[in-house]
Amino acid sequence: MDFLVPLLAQLTNGLIIGFIYALMALGLTLIFGVLKVINFAHGEFYMLGAYISYIASRMLGLHPIIGIIAAVAVVFIIGMLMEKALLTPIYEDKVERKDEYALLITFGLSIFLMNGALVVFGPYQKSPEPLASGVLDLGVLSVSSGRIYAVVLAIIFMAATLFIINKTWLGTALRALSQDRDASTIMGINAKTLGSIAFGLGAAMAGAAGALLAPVFLVFPIMGVVPAIKSFVIIILGSMGSIKGAIYGSLLLGIVESLGVFFLSPSYRDGYSFLLLIIILLVKPKGLFGGSQWNN
């Protein structure tokens, strides 16, 4: 029993973090599904979300929940604008090598935002108002209630996104776009506007994850790098563009990390994802959930 309780605590932690990763990876997979673009600035949208919630809760003195909602809304708009400004040449056939262009321009955006934040906010770590303080006692183990709130909100955000994708007209259009851009354009779907919306939604999910985790991990300009890399690993793990894959992949990564922390070494927490990546690339390079069908 002495052995089991800390293991259980680690696993709970892993699952909690896994749900937040899932929110982020879902955003990445959404963008990839619709636009066939990997957003290398994903971590910076996460960072922006965290800073916006910090500004709202600490500087303007608003309730943390309002801070999170503001983060989601603002990052959504920023994401849409960025897509309009930077990614439109891809569909207008103005660039020769689309993959390369998308890779490099989102990476450039990431460098710009990261160093922009460094200039504006400085390199110092900041901490927004936590959602709740205190500890929740669950019998054998106890979890800080701030984290519980974060997970509950993350699940609500994810459920909302899944609802939009699966049940609304917008979601149907997005799924159609992900399957065949040209055919859906012929059917009267406005691919440009919906592309921007998809990018905005994906970015907003990263922003939400950032706002949710900000009180736990603190806010600083390069905070987005590690979570972004984890969501890259997750979408390879769960097959690029697969929504189911992104969610299960995140939970799997959370659990693997907590097991690694428990059995191997806690300081390498962020390293286990890479180990997992190597294994998946060697054994099942297409990921755990097969092809790139988006609606599974």
Partner: protein, 322 residues
């Protein structure tokens, strides 16, 4: 264009050879750093510009070469010249491993895996402080012992750039091999239909460019007499990518001009604060969006326009004579 390229390079080289007569040590230091970045940007361009594979691990590979070389020279007492070569081999092998792992798949897999590798590599070297001395950095012997003068380093840096970039990459790019590699970038399916072994060529290019990064990293380590994880950050990688892209992706001369000019700009902007990377990020986006050929593209355009003007005026003269 090739003639123009050669002329610009010759001018740069002559200026570089006589520069130490006129400037102080600080300026030489900047040029040495610029040489490092020219090697990095050019070898990254060999990968991304010519074969179309975007890697984010170039700095990490350079740093793997630097750490290998540093550790060997510290513990085994081997002269840095030899240990840098060993470092290059190790960097090449790491590149080979990453290449074999990812290059069978689509391009984006390489980008995703290398960015993960770079961060994890940084994590490992910062944490294994018993071996690498952690974030403080490992002090390593200088390439020329304890000399304080920058001159020998300066000429070595210039020599390395000439050897690796002017001869090595130039030969490679304009050889049959280079042609094959460029055909892969243009159209992978068509190239493989013509009998090109696509994956094998990609892996070879990746290995060569990794080994080159290893040499550059090893040189920088034994010049600074320090290797630290700082070199491996994403922002440093952003610096290399900005240099190659702003200079002109897929052109031979672009990364050279980009590396030189951006390093000089960075040094002068640093006096006012840490703005240079933000500015470079912005220019990177603007260049990609509006002028994908970068500075090299602008030079060619300007050159061609001038030539056209000359030729049209010549033809009108002929008509007049008729």
């Amino acid at each position: 264009m090739e003639q123009l390229e050669k002329r610009i390079l010759a001018v740069l080289l002559v200026v570089a050879l006589f520069l130490p007569l006129f400037v102080d040590d600080y300026a030489l230091h900047i040029v040495i750093l610029a040489c490092f970045f020219i090697m990095m940007a050019s070898s990254w361009n060999l990968l991304a510009g010519y074969s179309g594979q975007v890697s984010f691990a170039h700095m990490a590979l350079a740093s793997s070469g630097a750490y290998t070389s540093g550790l060997i020279s510290v513990h085994l007492g081997i002269h840095p010249v030899l240990s840098i070569l060993v470092g290059a081999v190790v960097a090449g092998l790491v590149g080979l491993f990453l290449g074999v792992l990812t290059l069978r798949m689509k391009d984006s897999y390489l980008a995703l895996t290398t960015i993960a590798f770079a961060e994890i590599f940084r994590l490992v070297i910062s944490l294994e402080y018993k071996v690498t001395n952690g974030k403080v950095g490992l002090s390593v012997p200088g390439l020329f012992g304890d000399i304080t003068s920058k001159l020998p380093y300066y000429y070595t840096a210039i020599g390395l750039v000439v050897l690796m970039v002017f001869f090595g990459i130039y030969r490679l790019v304009y050889s049959n091999f280079g042609l094959t590699v460029r055909s892969i970038r243009e159209d992978e399916i068509a190239a493989s239909a013509m009998g090109v072994k696509v994956v094998r060529h990609k892996i070879i290019v990746f290995t060569i460019s990794s080994a080159m990064a290893g040499v550059a990293g090893g040189f920088l380590a034994h010049y600074n007499q320090l290797v630290s994880p700082e070199m491996t950050t994403i922002t440093q990688m952003g610096m290399v990518i900005s240099m190659a892209v702003i200079g002109g992706l897929g052109t031979f001369i672009g990364p050279i001009i980009g590396g030189l000019s951006l390093e000089i700009i960075a040094e002068y902007v640093k006096e006012f604060g840490n703005y240079h990377l933000m500015i470079f990020g912005l220019i990177l986006i603007l260049v990609l969006r509006f002028s994908p050929q970068g500075i090299a593209g602008l030079i060619t355009k300007f050159h061609n326009r001038k030539k056209k003007k000359v030729s049209t005026s010549a033809s009108t003269e002929k008509e007049v004579q008729k």
